[in-house]
């Protein structure tokens, strides 16, 4: 149930990068507000800047310009440490390239965020999340022994294991077949419904985007609403 209290509020956010002598503007004065419990899909062409935006919104990166509030806190007033503290236990992140530690088993990878704020039954929680994503048989495997889709599911389990209020997911179903993808999507929205977890997703998957409360398109560094009719125009999903 979207409530009126914004979990995240971005105003005139810009991101420029310089490589060599050229300055590249990836995001240009972009604004966005997401209410608690809302689910938002961000779509856009490859290279449009979706991953960059997600990183900025989660406070993993700093904008070149603009203001961003997370849980009501202006991020620009916090240092790297403060931003991390704000995230602790409240934000989950699924990376496009998974970012699993290669020397840790699937279970250990999922345990990692829990270990930062120890609580009883860590192991159980981690195992139950791996079970939810269908990997209960693979908990002792190292990332390189898992397929791409399996690694992605470990990354999803890791993002959700702390019961976060807000989850960012960068193409969470990108490597999954239709069936598994559908299961994961169901899982995400069950959580969204039952625990009120706010979801901000980057996706190419129209099936996923369609289930979100809101769809936004990133183009030329700006966000604009994505009309549901566009799904059809874009070819009805992949």
């Amino acid at each position: 149930m979207p409530s009126s209290r914004p979990v995240l509020h971005a105003e005139r956010l810009s991101k420029k990068v310089t490589s060599g002598e050229r300055t590249l503007t990836i995001l240009h004065e972009l604004s966005l507000s997401v209410a608690a419990g809302e689910s938002v899909a961000i779509l856009g062409k490859s290279g449009a800047g979706k991953s960059t935006l997600l990183g900025l919104l989660a406070g993993l990166d700093t904008p070149s310009d603009g203001e961003l509030r997370l849980f009501g806190q202006p991020l620009s007033r916090l240092d790297e440490d403060g931003r991390a503290a704000l995230r602790a236990g409240r934000v989950g992140f699924v990376f496009q390239n998974f970012q699993l530690l290669p020397t840790l088993s699937a279970l250990e990878n999922v345990l990692l965020p829990l270990e930062l704020s120890p609580r009883a039954g860590e192991d159980q929680m981690a195992k139950s999340w791996l079970a939810k994503v269908g990997l209960e048989e693979r908990i002792d495997h190292l990332p390189k022994q898992l397929s791409g889709g399996e690694q992605q599911r470990v990354a999803i389990a890791r993002a959700f294991v702390t019961d976060p209020e807000l989850v960012f997911a960068d193409e969470p179903t990108g490597n999954l077949d239709a069936d598994t993808g559908a299961q994961i999507i169901d899982l995400l929205f069950t959580l969204n419904r039952e625990a009120g977890t706010t979801l901000i997703l980057v996706t190419h998957d129209h099936a996923l985007a369609r289930r979100c409360d809101r769809c936004l398109q990133l183009d030329q560094g700006r966000l604009m609403p994505f009309a549901s009719s566009d799904f059809n125009a874009a070819g009805g999903g992949q």
């Binding site: 991953s51 960059t52 990183g55 989660a58 993993l60 990166d61 700093t62 790297e80 440490d81 991390a84 503290a85 704000l86 995230r87 602790a88 236990g89 409240r90 934000v91 992140f93 990376f95 496009q96 390239n97 998974f98 970012q99 699993l100 530690l101 290669p102 020397t103 840790l104 250990e108 990692l112 965020p113 270990e115 930062l116 704020s117 120890p118 190292l142 990332p143 390189k144 022994q145 702390t162």
Partner: protein, 855 residues
């Protein structure tokens, strides 16, 4: 396709030099080469310097001495071998000036004198350093002779049947032939005047010396001839064998520097092994891609070999240059120790350096590199197809064999290299097991910490991180242990070496010898000296005697052929008697005179059984070095001619003693009760502080017959050399420590990407700076602590072995080591690790994770 590897290799090497692990590999190699070439260059020159110095003390590289002039045939042979020859004649004769007479040691030198070094002579314009002797018609006196018969420059002294003009006072002769054996004051003259003196006649006691200077090859060439000469009874002194005085100490310094060089190479090897691992891991993907594009296994091997050899060559070139510069610095430190310019360094150390770099690379990185060859193209699709890391034993075995080869190359001794290698291999094997156990134990212990405080949490997390690195953890532990071990060993040995030197020449080492103290003056002299000196040796009675028979046969027939010309057979020995074993002497075989023997009774040994004086055989104690040279053993009999009497003795004990102690030392000691009947005088040594120098004037006037020898100059020279060698050792020590720290740095850098990834993720999960740095700090500290502990075990075992088999020092337990190494290790690794990850902690996680790049 055949030329593609070259271009590809060159290009990727250039790219590689930008990445941290390749740079670490590069730095490690540069250091290995720099350290080994520097030390090799330095040892090479030190060796030459020592030989030169020994040659200077002897008066030449080869010195022959006999009672008759040397034949022309011998001279020709030596000259053909490449020697320059110089003649010296030594004899004792009465010198007179007016009505003052004095027996003096005459040393006649020719125009070639001296081969090496300079004399310090006052020719009328103050003391000068000069490299020639008196010309014909002239003579130089030493200060003692000048004082005794009141010589002034320009005086004409009577020497035998001729008169010579005194034109110089010799403060120090360039060579030290003669040394302490002869306590007479000295006069130096020219050989051209010898005939006119009429002192050289058949039957007079004249020593002819032939001093030869030449290159080592010349010495090699005449070895056979020297053997023959020795058998003929010629006394032969060879610069390589007869190192005077400092020999022992410098030999140890030499060994130490060699050891330090090896430690540096070992350290570099560890660094190479660590970085190679990371290098290969990073290149597996490249290799797999190249396989996809159709490269063969062989091409891959060639490609990566070219890259690495290129790397090694560049590194060894830079390293060699650094080494060259380093040895110049070392030599500068030692400059005053080498009075003359040394020959420039040879090229051998350069080749040695390059060889070292290649060997270290092949030995420590080779097996790991072979993994690249096994990469399959499928790996591009399936990451789990990474070839397994090479078995640990293979890495260690190959590294050990290569290191053993280097040991052999550096130490020049195959058995030593093999022994060290086997010992090292066993130790490493044990260590591997112990590492795994230790790591487990530490982690197990940490798990029990249940506190919820930030520190205990950090410790728990740090331990878990360490445990999860599994193989890599044990590998790092091993690498750090070896690093700490090498560093600790070099520090320990240095400390013990220096304190041994310190103990050998303490501040109160005697700086005066008093000789020729008559029995009647003994007590008075003792009373005059005792209250004013810092230390004083016993007053030893001294009787001169000649060995006339060994086991009732002529000495020449019984001693080893090579010892026929030994000085102890050719000259009189100083004999003494003592009831107690002199300080600093140790009985190494047999037993010291038992106290029950009626040694102090008036009749003594002479009257014990029969009335005839020679009926009882006198027990004696012989110095072990002399015994070895002359082939003497316990219970052998020796007959001495003392004051015209023959004394038959039996060896009942062998002693070892320190010839560098600056105290009176004796080859042969009798029990009391035998020699008292012969004419004797006393000798003693004492230390007189600067403030008490006035005593000397008093002694000279109260005891005119007593000769006082000041050995401050020699003592100072010895101390100088030791001080300078100490400085060289400190410098090398510093170098090894730096190498060690850079190894730690390289190893930690190699593991940095993994840690960066981790800390980036932890940051995403909400860990703060404090938390991350505590977790990492805890991990580093644990690693450091555990490796320090193992390093201490290794160092203790290894130094004990070294002391016994190589450096000839007494092993001891280093308790502080067991504290400092684990704690210091924790601190050092903690600090380096902390410093390395500082930058990371400041970074936004997006950057440290490389969110946009590959995982």
């Amino acid at each position: 396709m055949s030329d593609i590897p070259w271009r590809l290799a060159a290009r990727s090497l250039k790219r590689d030099l930008r990445s941290a692990d390749v740079r670490a590999l590069f730095v490690a190699l540069v250091l290995a080469v720099a350290a080994s070439t520097m030390i090799a260059f330095f040892l090479d020159r030190l060796e030459r310097g020592l030989e030169r110095q020994a040659g200077q003390m002897l008066g030449g590289d080869l010195v022959l001495e006999q009672r008759s002039p040397f034949s022309d045939a011998l001279r020709t042979t030596l000259e053909e071998a490449g020697f320059t020859l110089s003649d010296q004649v030594g004899l004792v004769s009465m010198i007179s000036l007016g009505d003052r007479f004095q027996p003096a040691s005459l040393k006649a030198v020719d125009d070639v004198y001296p081969h090496y070094g300079v004399s310090r002579v006052d020719l009328g314009q103050g003391t000068e350093q000069i490299a020639f002797g008196p010309s014909a018609g002239e003579a130089w006196a030493d200060p003692r002779l000048a004082e005794l018969i009141e010589i002034e420059l320009g005086d004409r002294v009577q020497v035998g049947q001729t008169e010579l003009t005194i034109t110089g006072i010799v403060e120090r002769e360039a060579d030290q032939s003669g040394g302490f054996g002869n306590f007479n004051p000295r006069l130096m003259l020219n050989t051209a005047d010898l005939e006119a003196t009429g002192l050289v006649q058949d039957g007079s006691r004249v020593e002819f010396e032939l001093l030869a200077a030449g290159p080592p090859q010349a010495l090699d060439q005449v070895q056979e001839l020297l053997g023959e000469l020795r058998r003929e009874g010629v006394e032969v002194r060879d610069v390589r064998v007869d190192r005077p005085q400092l020999g022992n100490a410098l030999q140890r310094a030499d060994s130490y520097l060699g050891l330090a060089g090896l430690a540096a190479v070992l350290l570099a090897g560890v660094a190479v092994a660590m970085s190679a691992r990371r290098y290969v891991e990073r290149h597996l993907d490249t290799a797999a891609l190249l396989r996809c594009f159709g490269a063969s296994q062989q091409q891959l091997v060639i490609l990566f070999s070219i890259q690495l050899i290129g790397l090694a060559l560049i590194a060894s070139f830079i390293g060699a240059l650094l080494g060259l510069a380093g040895q110049a610095v070392l030599l500068r430190l030692l400059a005053s120790f080498f009075p003359m310019t040394l020959p420039p360094p040879g090229v051998t150390p350069l080749w040695l350096g390059i060889l070292t770099a290649l060997a270290v690379l092949v030995g420590f990185a080779g097996p790991t590199l072979l993994r690249i060859k096994q990469v399959s193209a499928l790996k591009v699709l399936r990451r789990e197809l990474d070839p397994m890391p090479p078995a640990a034993w293979l890495v260690v075995a190959v590294a050990a064999i290569v290191f053993g080869g280097l040991l052999w190359l550096y130490s020049g001794s195959l058995p030593l290299a093999i022994a060290l290698l086997l010992g090292g291999a066993v130790l490493l094997g044990a260590l591997w097991g112990v590492s795994a156990l230790l790591l487990n134990a530490v982690l197990h212990g940490i798990k029990k910490i249940t506190g919820t405080g930030e520190w205990s949490q950090a410790l728990r997390l740090g331990a878990r991180q360490l445990a999860r690195r599994r193989q890599a953890g044990v590998g790092q532990l091993l690498a750090f242990s070896v690093t700490f071990f090498a560093m600790a060993m070099i520090v320990l040995v240095r400390g013990d070496l220096l304190s041994t030197w310190q103990a050998q020449l303490p501040d109160d080492t005697p700086n005066y010898f008093a000789i020729n103290i008559q029995p009647s003056e003994r007590d008075a002299f003792e009373q005059a000296v005792a209250p004013r000196v810092d230390t004083q040796s016993t007053l030893y009675p001294m009787v001169r005697g000649r060995i006339t028979a060994i086991n009732e046969q002529s000495p020449r027939d019984v001693v080893p052929e090579d010892a026929r010309g030994d000085g102890s057979l050719r000259r009189e020995l100083n004999l003494t008697w003592q009831a107690e074993l002199p300080e600093g002497n140790q009985v190494v075989a047999g037993e010291w005179f038992s106290s029950e023997t009626p040694m102090n009774e008036p009749q003594g040994w002479l009257g014990a059984v029969d009335a005839t004086p020679q009926a009882e055989i006198v027990p004696i104690s012989v110095e072990e070095g002399l015994a070895r040279r002359l082939g003497l053993a316990l219970n052998d009999t020796m007959t001495f001619s003392v004051g015209g009497d023959e004394l038959t003795t039996r060896i009942t004990s062998l002693r070892s003693l320190n010839w560098d102690s600056f105290k009176p030392n004796f080859f042969v000691i009798f029990p009391p009760g035998v020699l008292e009947q012969f004419g004797h005088s006393y000798i003693t040594a004492f230390h007189l502080s600067d403030e008490e120098q006035g005593l000397i004037r008093q002694l000279v006037s109260d005891f005119p017959g007593v000769s006082l020898l000041n050995v401050d100059a020699i003592l100072g020279q010895v101390r100088d050399v030791l001080a300078q060698v100490t400085r060289a050792i400190e410098l090398v020590l510093l170098l090894v420590l730096l190498a060690g720290i850079s190894v730690l740095y390289a190893a930690l850098t190699a593991s940095q990407p993994v840690r960066a990834h981790e800390s980036g993720l932890l940051r995403v999960f909400g860990a703060g700076n404090r938390m991350i740095s505590r977790i990492q700090g805890a991990e580093y500290a644990l690693l450091g602590f555990a490796s320090g502990l193992m390093g201490a075990v290794l160092a203790e075992v290894a130094t004990a072995a070294l002391y016994i088999y190589w450096l000839d020092l007494t092993p001891r337990l280093h308790i502080t080591l067991w504290l400092t190494l684990p704690l210091g290790g924790a601190l050092l690794i903690g600090v380096i690790g902390h410093a390395l990850s500082r930058g990371l902690r400041r970074q936004a996680p997006a950057a440290s994770l490389g969110l946009l790049g590959e995982a």
